[in-house]
């Protein structure tokens, strides 16, 4: 009888003590994505992936450093010179992190798509959140496919060890199909909703037009790996034109050209008419990623005394004096590519710095040209609100011009040129010559905004344009190798992938 009592007692204890562990003090799959606020918060976590230094710096490290517009200062430590000199390997730190953060963004977007698609949320919230998540997934895959080529594909949130080895895409088109389908889903779910730092229907259409243009031109110009793909370049140009046209023409009350060149880059006006997608950061943040240090990369070091940039009209713009001057702009690029009167040169590129009274500082610590596209006059120490554009209106206008050809393109290109204070393009260019002219205009207009490498790759002109890549074949320059850790640990990725 006593034993029975003991056994019963033990059983009571056992029952009262479940061994299931409930999270305490942190969020997990069990207690999150339940409310509409969770949905919004989870979505913005996916946006936030773009803000990490590892990813953010790729805009220039990948987009501009390897090209003809920019080079790093010679004593900058780290792997930046591998990008500059086209000696990137599977062990290059910068591409390793860039690759990794593309997938962090993808996993966060996948989590939102999976959890919010099925939960009990209002239709409006569900559409917006899931739509933007599709956009973000497409955005990250587009960065991947342009940078690394064929990559592993993951469309579900990764939550267990078994799911950590994603399969390799069967080919480039599998990735493009996913990107296009995500953009179209986003386009169908989203409304026009212009919010600083977020994306909307227009952003989805803008991205889609860029994707189609990348496919079209890659095929058209014979970019390796694209030539054998089964599609027609002109169809893709047409698709690009359809979506770019929507962006350029359909939403004039929200999106359009900013007629004032410098205003485009004014940190106090991130939500100007050119804004389609811009990175959301602010100098009031407490750590890097919340704020950025982008100006420090460009601005020369003036022993921590704030510098002033002098515009042709005599006005002064204050900037950090504690810059590192890492990103130096090629003299040839400035002096050879731009007309001397081009405002994009006279107002956005500088070779001298001034004190608060407008007196030039001598001897000058400036080592090369630097740009004022990223200057925050209200910086706090190293903290700034300088924000890179991820997609802006002029980019898409040029996409339309390139895709649609001269008839539709002339006015767009010439609007941009007029804003820069230079004469219109010569009229009567052939389609081919016009496209070349548009691509050249992109180089001038979108310089240091992370587009140049991809424009060179999709036109198969890396090796002919970039001195440091001259000894490579266009195929070798087409993609960077998949990082070694992925090759080592994901059995689905062969060691020869993209090497």
């Amino acid at each position: 009888m006593r034993k029975t009592v003991i056994i019963i007692l033990a059983a009571v204890f056992a029952a009262s003590c479940s061994l299931d562990e409930t999270p305490y003090g942190f969020y997990s799959g069990d207690n999150f994505y339940k409310t509409e606020e969770d949905a919004e918060s989870g979505l913005m976590y996916a946006y936030n992936a773009l803000n990490y230094l590892e990813y953010l710096r790729g805009i220039w490290y990948v987009g501009d450093i390897p090209t003809d517009d920019m080079y790093p200062k010679s004593d900058e430590p780290g792997d930046i010179h591998m990008l500059e000199n086209w000696t990137v390997t599977s062990s290059t730190e910068l591409t390793h992190y860039y690759f990794k953060y593309c997938y962090i963004g993808i996993n966060r977007a996948n989590a939102v798509i999976e959890k919010i698609s099925s939960g009990r949320f209002s239709e409006a919230v569900r559409k917006r959140v899931v739509g933007e998540a599709h956009f973000l997934r497409a955005w990250n895959y587009f960065n991947l496919v342009r940078t690394f080529g064929i990559c592993p594909i993951s469309t579900k949130p990764i939550a267990s060890l078994e799911q950590t080895t994603s399969p390799l895409a069967s080919g480039l088109m599998e990735i493009y199909d996913l990107i296009i389908s995500d953009c179209k889903t986003a386009d169908s779910l989203l409304q026009v909703n212009k919010v600083f730092g977020r994306t909307d229907k227009v952003a989805a259409e803008a991205l889609l037009s860029k994707v189609y243009l990348h496919l079209a031109s890659s095929k058209h110009y014979g970019a390796p790996s694209y030539t054998d793909l089964d599609y027609n370049a002109d169809d893709m140009y047409a698709n690009a034109a359809i979506y770019a046209r929507k962006v350029v023409q359909d939403y004039p009350s929200d999106y359009g050209f900013d007629s004032r060149l410098r205003h485009i880059y004014d940190v106090t006006a991130p939500d100007g008419p050119e804004h389609i997608f811009i990175m959301a950061t602010d100098r009031s943040g407490t750590h890097e990623g919340m704020y950025t240090k982008i100006p420090l990369q460009f601005l020369p070091n003036n022993s921590s005394v704030p510098i002033y940039i002098k515009y042709p009209d005599g006005s002064l713009q204050k900037g950090n004096g504690n810059g590192w001057g890492v990103f130096l702009i090629n003299d040839d690029f400035v002096e050879g590519a731009y007309l001397a009167t081009d405002k994009r040169r006279t107002e956005l590129l500088h070779h001298s710095i001034y004190d608060q009274n407008g007196v030039e500082i001598t001897p000058s610590p400036v080592r090369g040209y630097f740009t004022s596209k990223y200057v925050d006059p209200d910086f706090i120490g190293e903290r700034t609100s300088a924000r890179p554009y991820l997609i802006r209106y002029s980019d898409i206008a040029l996409v339309l011009a390139e895709a649609a050809g001269p008839a539709e393109g002339y006015p767009l290109v010439n609007t941009i040129r007029a804003r820069a204070g230079i004469s219109p393009l010569p009229s009567g260019l052939s389609l081919e010559d016009f496209r070349r002219a548009v691509i050249n205009e992109r180089k001038l207009e979108l310089a240091f905004e992370g587009n140049r490498l991809f424009d060179l790759r999709r036109t198969a002109s890396v090796t002919s344009t970039v001195q440091e890549a001259a000894s490579l074949t266009e195929k070798e320059a087409a993609f960077y190798p998949i990082p070694q850790r992925e090759v080592d640990l994901n059995p689905n990725v062969p060691s020869t992938q993209n090497n």
């Binding site: 003090g25 918060s41 989870g42 996916a46 950590t164 600083f196 990082p483």
Partner: protein, 1019 residues
């Protein structure tokens, strides 16, 4: 249901016979294990009346009320009882006398006679450590048990010890043994500060699997069982113990005593580095640096900074104990106040402990015991005062203000003494209630309920004068708090029966449930208008510079079932089998339950006829055991998925954003990269240790000489480690079970009562332990991110702290080698003038005369990372201790020696030490032992910094006198004095060779020589 039990208890109680006959006293005597004890002499002192207890332990004897009755049995303590006026029955339990060889040894969930032990269990004699002063009780165990390694590397007041049983076996989990106080598991050993030494009856160290596997998933690192005193039945006694400890430095501090030499050396190291000399009579940053000639003139300050930083620390400890027992109840109370001064001024630790034990015999066979501990500690932290400050700098400037070398000179000791505040207060409450019920003959129930609450509160204020952070941000205030709750419910049944004289069986089975919850809250504020309020009002700070974060919160539950069977055949062959099943919330979903079996056999060979013929052999017992135990290693929630949280700038506001993947740490230069964790691993489980032990217990000549020897093989696998994941997973690492570490060793304890006469006694105990540790497996080289040694081809990973001097971690874990070995370059003396160093340094800095001559292992004439080899092993070859006690009548002297042999120590900062700098290489003094001075030289980690850390220490000498006055007030008085750390024999050049397990010498808090004076008064 509980009512049912209660009524059963009540019925039994009422049914008790209460016979009383005038003049006749009746009663029953029980053995320590509760069984009736026949053959006990029961006498009335001063009379001729005496009887012997019967088979059932009962007796009856004529005694007047108020008189005493004495109970005596060979090998047992003699007990005395007063006869009450109502002539009620006397129920008495005999206890074994402490000097009996057949001591009772406490094991998990029970106690056995030492002679019946089948596992490896070491008992620590409390009298050997009772007089030694220590913050934590377990720190006193150094050298007191074979296989037990205790490192007291810090003299910080309130500091605790590092304790290991049979080596390190875990890489990422805890390696500390489990401490269990009166059946209540308290966690990692080393910090048992709540229990007063005077209140401890015994300490047992469970070493092999047969002994420790009953603690299941917490037993792998061994178990230390602490049992507090139970009030002895008998008269009321009060004792007061006081001790005062006066400490001094055990070695000279390594600082500049001669300012002239300092200035010379400083100039030389600047010039050699291609910089301008300092002491040439110039002003730098507002501070005048006199020239050597000016210094020689003697007009400059020669400040003795030691005087402003250090003091002669005095430690006081006072204990009052009250011990009283009646027929039904007994109380044992201890109050202790302990005040430990640090050597730095204002550095100190105070503690008040109250331990109260109470036993009450509710009914015959039902005993209720409670044990309560209250402990309050108060630590005032004031360390790191710069006693090595430049002696040329005065204390005050010409205006009478503190002399500072610049606005960011935070080193002035007087400034720090007044402006740096860090105070930690803790409250610890431990409450335990247990019930022992002898249900029927042979069957007993033990049930206990324990609760522990601990709180922690730290107040910090750094004025802007004491640190760069405080200077930049106008003061830093912190309030940190932690709260810990532990609850344990435990019930087990024990059944003992002897069948005839051949078979004896004992079974124990029970269950326990424990619940644990910790919380922490940390707040920091910066930006104060002035320093007046300190951290008293955090709202006085700049709102933008406030941080609140909580951490260390977790909740876990552990549900266990366990059992043990002991079988003995003819008291000659013994078998033990134990089993425990642990279910923990911490374990992964797929591995909620762990099973930990063990078995042991033992053979009392001395009971075999052919051996019992040898009269000089008292005991010869073989033991063999094997078992599986676990190490919980895993933290709460480690197997779950965990989301991260960031702030995102959304439409003009910061919002909290949440999702999969959380920041587990940082990596890369300046910690710029996040390490992403948070992916679940539902298969995660405990670390498993399989241990084999072969042991021998032998004693000779009536147990006058004793030997215990053990060989063990301890294989730990399923080590918790982090594995890298593919980048596309979006996570960096996942916790998995792989990796394997082996510990093998030999332990030897020799003891002897060498001289034993009426007045003279001389006894000695030698304890010798050897452990060999080897990392067998670190998982898959690629996914574990192992590096490969290019010269010899082994795989390794770096471990331990990064050392700024070398810009790298000192230690590695390498497959096939002991844990934490040092990895670096070899140095073969100093490069001399006109000598070819054998390598070329592209910077032309390291191949000059006077530099360290690194060995170019791979012969490529350059010093590269390929030239690194294993340069040292911090694990000792063996440790040994010798305890000798000599007594003459009431005077006794004990000497305790402790030594660690064959370990290497990395002397961090060796070449920065003034002693070493003074002996530098110069062209005129072409030393082959000390490099030239160079202020900007980058040192590689090399064997130049590795020294033999072996030492033999005269750890304690104690002289005491027992004065048995037996007066009206005092029963006895005992005086003693002792010296700790009297002298250390070592070749190590640093201040003291006793460093942490990783073998890295950091300088740190100087070690003391302590002089203790104590008195024990017994009333």
């Amino acid at each position: 249901m509980n009512k049912t039990i209660l009524s059963i208890i009540l019925c039994l109680g009422i049914a008790l016979p209460a016979a009383a006959q005038p003049g006749m006293v009746r009663g029953t005597v029980y053995d320590f294990d509760g069984s009736p004890m026949p053959g006990v002499s029961v006498v009335v002192p001063g009379t001729t009346r005496g009887v012997i207890t019967g088979e059932d332990g009962t007796f009856s004897i004529e005694a007047a009320p108020g008189s005493s009755i004495e109970f005596w049995y060979l090998g047992y303590e003699t007990l005395v009882r007063k006869v009450t006026s109502d002539g009620s029955r006397i129920e008495i339990t005999m206890t074994l006398s402490s000097d009996t060889i057949d001591d009772v040894v406490v094991v998990g969930y029970g106690a056995v006679k030492k002679s019946d032990l089948t596992g490896s269990v070491a008992s620590v004699k409390m009298e050997t450590i009772a007089d030694i002063n220590s913050t934590s009780v377990d720190g006193l165990l150094q050298g007191r048990a074979a296989g037990l390694q205790v490192i007291n590397s810090s003299q910080d007041p309130g500091s605790t010890a590092t304790i290991r049983i049979r080596g390190n076996s875990s890489i990422n989990g805890s390696n500390a043994p489990l401490v269990v106080v009166n059946g209540f598991p308290m966690g990692d050993a080393g910090a048992l500060t709540q229990i007063n030494t005077a209140d401890i009856a015994s300490i047992e160290v469970l070493k092999d699997a047969s002994a420790s596997a009953i603690y299941g998933s917490r037993g792998a690192n061994g178990v230390i069982l602490v049992t507090t005193r139970q009030a002895d039945e008998g008269m009321t006694s009060i004792s007061v113990k006081h001790q005062t400890v006066i400490s001094q430095l055990s070695d000279k501090l390594d600082i500049w005593y001669d300012p002239m030499l300092m200035a010379q050396v400083t100039n030389e190291e600047m010039v050699n580095a291609g910089l301008s000399p300092v002491y040439i009579g110039q002003t730098i940053g507002g501070i005048y640096y006199p020239s050597l000639i000016e210094i020689q003139s003697g007009q400059w300050a020669d400040t003795d900074w030691i005087k402003y930083c250090l003091r002669t620390p005095v430690t006081n400890s006072t204990t009052v104990s009250v011990n009283s027992a009646g027929a039904k109840s007994a109380i044992n109370a201890n109050l202790n106040y302990f005040n430990d001064q640090g050597i730095y001024k204002k550095d100190g630790y105070g503690r008040f402990n109250a331990n109260v034990g109470y036993n009450y015999n509710l009914f015959k066979g039902v005993r209720l015991s409670t044990y309560t501990v209250l402990s309050f500690t108060d630590r005032n932290v004031m360390n790191g005062l710069e006693y090595g400050r430049n002696p040329l700098w005065p204390v005050y400037d010409e205006n009478g203000d503190y002399f500072l070398s610049g606005p960011t000179d935070f080193g002035h000791p007087l400034v720090r003494l007044s402006d740096f505040h860090d105070r930690i207060k803790t409250t610890d409450i431990l409450s335990s209630a247990s019930l022992d019920w002898d249900i029927v003959k042979d069957l007993k129930l033990h049930t206990q309920f324990d609760y522990r609450y601990k709180s922690y509160l730290e107040d910090v204020y750094q004025a802007r004068t004491v640190s760069q952070d405080a200077f930049d941000n106008n003061g830093i205030a912190k309030i940190n708090a932690g709260f810990y709750n532990d609850l344990l419910s435990e019930t087990y049944l024990t059944w003992n029966r002897t069948f005839g004289s051949v078979h004896s069986l004992s079974l124990m089975g029970g269950h326990s449930y424990s619940w644990n919850r910790n919380r922490g809250l940390y707040t920091t504020a910066r930006g104060f208008v002035n320093d007046v309020l300190g951290n008293e009002n955090m709202n006085a700070s700049d709102p933008a510079l406030r941080q609140i974060y909580n951490d260390g919160y977790y909740e876990s539950k552990l549900l266990s079932f366990y059992g043990r069977a002991n079988y003995s055949l003819m008291d000659k062959y013994l078998v033990t089998f134990t089993m425990r099943a642990d279910g923990s919330t911490k374990f992964g979903k797929n591995n909620k339950w762990g099973f930990f079996p063990s078995g042991a056999v033992s053979w009392k060979m001395h009971k075999e006829p052919w051996m019992s013929a040898l009269p000089w052999v008292s005991e010869w017992k073989w033991r063999v055991s094997y078992g599986i135990s676990g190490n919980q290693g895993i933290n709460a929630y480690q197997t779950l998925d965990r989301y991260g949280m960031e702030k995102f700038w959304h439409d003009g506001n910061w919002v909290s954003v949440i999702g999969p993947g959380y920041e587990e740490g940082r990596t890369g230069a300046n910690d710029r990269y996040f390490v992403w964790g948070g992916i679940m691993n539902p298969g995660l489980r405990w670390e498993t240790t399989a241990q084999t032990d072969i042991g021998l217990d032998a004693s000779f000549w009536n147990s006058r000489f004793r030997i215990t020897a053990d060989f063990y093989h301890k294989d730990t696998y399923n080590l918790l480690r982090e594995k890298y994941l593919p980048l596309t997973s979006s996570y960096d690492k996942i916790w998995v079970n792989d990796g394997r570490v082996l510990n093998r060793g030999v332990e030897l304890s020799l003891g002897g009562d060498i001289i034993s006469t009426r007045d003279w006694h001389f006894a000695a105990d030698l304890i010798w332990s050897l452990n060999r540790n080897r990392v067998l497996n670190l998982g898959d080289a690629v996914s574990s991110g192992l590096s490969r040694d290019e010269l010899n081809g082994f795989y390794y990973e770096v471990t331990g702290p990064a050392i700024a001097m070398f810009n790298q971690n000192a230690s590695i874990l390498a497959e096939g080698m002991p844990m934490n070995i040092f990895y670096g370059y070899q140095v073969d003396g100093i490069i001399q003038e006109d000598e070819n160093p054998g390598f070329i340094d592209p910077s032309a800095l390291l191949d000059r005369p006077g530099e360290l001559k690194y060995v170019d292992q791979d012969g490529d004439f350059a010093i590269t990372s390929r030239d690194r080899v294993i340069i040292g092993d911090p694990n000792p070859d063996f440790t040994a201790s010798l305890n000798m006690r000599l007594s003459w009548k009431q005077l006794s002297l004990s000497v305790f020696l402790y030594g660690v042999f064959g370990n290497d120590v990395l002397y961090n900062g060796y070449t920065y030490s003034p002693r070493v700098k003074a002996k530098r290489w110069t062209p005129d003094n072409p030393s082959n032992d000390f490099p030239s001075l160079n202020n900007i030289r980058q040192y590689y980690l090399s064997d130049y910094f590795i020294q033999d850390g072996s030492f033999l220490r005269i750890q304690n000498i104690n002289l005491s006198y027992d004065w048995p006055i037996d007066g009206k007030v005092f029963r006895s008085i005992r005086f003693y004095s002792s010296v700790d750390n009297l002298f250390t024999f070592t070749r190590f050049d640093g201040y003291d060779p006793e460093v942490g397990l990783d073998g890295i010498y950091w300088g740190g808090y100087p070690k003391f020589r302590k002089f203790t004076f104590g008195v024990d008064l017994n009333f």
